[in-house]
């Protein structure tokens, strides 16, 4: 009973903070709300029975990704208040978003649970799967991350400083 109550409580919190992200006017404030939203989501994961992912949510999203966002926002010293789009564009966006969300809600509400007593897979099964069936994708993520790092380095390099690693101009 208590988990269910907490679930709705945290769900409301998730939605509220997400709304603050979306309707926020300053990037720094939005980022802060997003961090709060991630904390609520992490709590939801915990309630659903995924403590490992809940921890990862905090560590990776809040600890790494959002810090990166904040760094960039601070670095660029972004303008005070955000301009919004023209009125028609915003209205069209809202209509589309509401339609999509309500469709999702309709689909989810019509979805009958398959099992009476849901049982989330335990940590043991998850780690086993990660290092057996999912070994190749898991290893490939490291390649993806290296590629992302290399890409970020290349993109972020200041164009003015000459590149010491570049090959000499003349070639036979």
């Amino acid at each position: 009973m208590i988990p269910a109550v907490l679930f709705y409580l945290f769900g409301a919190g998730t939605l509220a903070t997400a709304a603050c992200v979306v309707f926020g006017r300053r990037a720094v404030e939005s980022a802060m709300w997003l961090i709060a939203c991630f904390f609520f989501l992490s709590a939801e994961f915990l309630l659903l029975g995924f403590p490992f992912l809940a921890a990862l949510q905090i560590m990776v999203y809040v600890g790494a990704i959002m810090v990166l966002f904040l760094f960039v926002i601070m670095l660029l010293g972004v303008q005070g208040v955000q301009p919004l789009r023209g009125r028609t564009a915003v209205t069209a966006g809202m209509v589309v978003a509401v339609m999509l969300a309500s469709l999702g809600v309709i689909a989810a509400a019509g979805h009958a649970g398959l099992t009476e007593q849901p049982a989330p897979p335990d940590m043991d099964a998850m780690t086993r799967a990660l290092f057996t069936d999912y070994l190749l994708p898991f290893e490939l993520t490291s390649v993806l991350l290296v590629a992302a790092i290399a890409g970020a380095l290349t993109l972020g390099r200041s164009p003015r400083t000459p590149d010491p690693a570049a090959p000499p101009e003349e070639r036979p």
Binding site: G11, R85, L114, L144, A148
Partner: protein, 100 residues
Amino acid sequence: MIPTAHVHILAALLFGLGILGFLRQRNAIMLLMSVELMLNSANLSFLAAAREQGNVDGAMMPLFVLVVAAAEAAVGLALIIILFRKRVSLDVDLLRSLRD
């Protein structure tokens, strides 16, 4: 006892908010944050399904989404820095170079 359907509904609403943010905002950083919201709503749905079926496959997906999100944030923010260097603005509505 949390019904699976309600978790999916929460995910759908969260996704809608993400879409809304993506369409409403003009700041490139805000767009990326909206994308993070959408990714997280997908994670939520995956976990709901994994919980219902007691299946590890659904629980694996958020891990990979997490990695993709990290990579996306790194590259996306690097692009934003370049954008800022070139245009001194993050307003995506001022970018019209995708024409033709």
